[in-house]
Symmetry: C2
Subunit: 325 residues, 2 copies
DNA sequence: AGACTGCGTGTAACCGGTTTCATCACCAAC
DNA sequence: GTTGGTGATGAAACCGGTTACACGCAGTCT
């Protein structure tokens, strides 16, 4: 069995309180005593039990993060940004993926019992579940998800980037636009659509249920038989990549005949030459970690909602011009 | 303050032992008593403290996983596979990224104090650090990393896939091969190189230090001025993608003039049409989780080393033939 | 000399559960 | 009418730390 603080105390001929003080150099201890304790601890290879410490301090020194998935760079980057700040603050990070899990809400509630606070990414759990956490006094920060009640939230800007993206298309002479996606499913998509509409007067909404590649590839068929618009503005990259592949396979000139844009800037977008909007994923994670820390430490009581700027990334799916990288 | 087990005991007029029994329905409790306790717990909104429970049970009910990065699907997938099995086994997952951290070894040691066992991916920490963990009695499983001492390990098969890949190239008439990478840096790369050599007699080694895209793009320059081989067999996808991009930009016919292969099947490989070898990343993670569980539960004492099969994925960087998807 | 101050240290009470063991009520068997 | 067994329950020890508080001792000030 591993040595405990009492073993060290006996070995050093002092009380456990003194050992505790030495191990955390929290209070003044006479140098001679300190050295004696250090020697005893070293001799017994004493490593303080985190379990005992956590119970006594009534803190887990760990934060949680809930995400739907890690495939694709989106959430992975957020998690990394989060982890690096959490580590900096001396906290471990617990993860919970809700993918393919039907008891997500219960799992999140359980996780809340194992950490001092948690971050929830996207629409992984129900609003009701978030409210229950908040009511229970849990420290919660939402990321990439519409705010709920008085809970902290961090999101990426949508409207202004959508306007910039649309203006970019108009500048290139693309006037007849089709927005692909479902604004009713997510506030993010709704904001993007709104931003597009604010700049362009000629935008049609093509409603799709799934925002993935197959859906993108599939819907191209509808347009090949009738007239193509000047540009497809897709709600996300997967959709845009699916369309792009299918259009190119059909021999459609891109960006000459039709332009395509996405949203998120996933890694594949770079290889496919897809013009898109990049979200500051790392920053979303690190900002969430900082907000959460404020909640845990208790330095802030009023809820905050941060909106981080996004960035238009122009590639060959809209222009071959040399004026942009 | 939240209700404790003693509050519930008082409220229900029973002892804390009985409350404990009811909360975990571990032993027989008379139905009437059970209901009384349940009612009291509900009335007080009692949720057992995980901290207290963990200390009493002397277990964290959490496993750790250490990885270098999550960008790129490689490690992300492993983490997901790991998490899903861990969750199934009722354990939380603690993560630790060593990217950009100079105190990785210390961080891993600290993490080992906060979980019942951990998985280490790749060359994130020193062999010495792994041995220290093992000596300390920590439960450790290595993934995608050469085994150390008597520590469990899970790896992807290299040699046979390398042979299959090489045979595929020979079948296509590509005889003069160049293997790009450094077999001395990693046993994985060494095995891949060995596999290639076992099938082809005409393979040259092009030594590179960094296995990333810029290195790949850079080294193409050397070959454009002199003769190209029939195929470049790269140690990983990043390298291959870098070369592919540069070669295509230079107008070299692929796969006609030269063929290129990678290793890993990262997401971008699909878009770039790169022939490569796919590792069972999800399975690496889940297998590691199961091995780790055996160690923690204590059902096994002899170390194990699992080698999971890989899969050749043929794309347009080697053949345009219709015989393969 | 006596009171005061302050530092270093120990005692013991926590933190919130689990679990061993003793006890007690009840009933069947002899 | 004992004895023995069984099932439900409680008292208390325990997990391994932190920390409030008390105490002793030395040095300083009247």
């Amino acid at each position: 069995m591993r040595a405990t603080i009492r073993d060290v105390a006996r070995e050093a001929g002092v009380s456990i309180a003194t050992v505790s003080r030495v191990m955390r150099d929290s209070e003044a201890v006479r140098p001679a005593t300190r050295d004696k304790v250090r020697a005893a601890a070293a001799a017994l290879e004493f490593v303080p039990s985190q379990l005992g410490r956590q119970l006594a301090e009534r803190r887990h020194a760990a934060n949680g993060i809930v995400f739907p998935d890690l495939s694709g760079p989106y959430y992975a980057e957020v998690v990394l940004g989060y982890e690096s700040v959490a580590a900096e603050l001396g906290r471990s990070v617990l993860i919970l993926s809700t993918r393919g899990r039907d008891d997500a809400d219960a799992a999140v509630q359980a996780m809340a019992e194992r950490c001092d606070g948690l971050v929830i990414l996207g629409r992984t759990v129900s609003d009701e579940s978030v409210e229950r956490l908040a009511a229970r006094g849990a420290n919660v920060v939402l990321v990439a998800r519409p705010p709920v009640g008085g809970v902290d939230a961090v999101n990426a800007e949508n409207r202004i980037s959508a306007q910039a993206l649309t203006q970019h298309l108009l500048d290139l002479g693309a006037h007849r636009l089709v927005f692909v996606g479902d604004p009713s499913t997510s506030p993010d998509v709704a904001e993007r659509f709104a931003g597009v509409q604010e700049v362009s007067h000629d935008v049609e909404l093509h409603h799709v249920d799934d925002l993935d590649e197959t859906a993108g590839a599939h819907l191209v068929g509808d347009y090949l038989t009738r007239a193509l618009p000047d540009a497809f503005v897709c709600a996300n990259d997967e959709l845009a990549l699916g369309m792009l592949g299918r259009l190119r396979a059909a021999g459609v000139d891109i960006p000459g005949r039709v332009k395509v844009t996405g949203w998120d800037d996933v890694m594949a977008a770079r290889y496919a030459g897809l013009t898109t909007v990049r979200q500051p994923m790392r920053a979303l994670g690190s900002t969430a970690a900082r907000l959460l820390d404020e909640l845990i430490v208790g330095t802030r009581s009023t809820p905050r909602h941060e909106v981080l700027p996004t960035q238009l990334v122009i590639r060959t799916s809209t222009t071959l011009g040399k004026e942009h990288a």
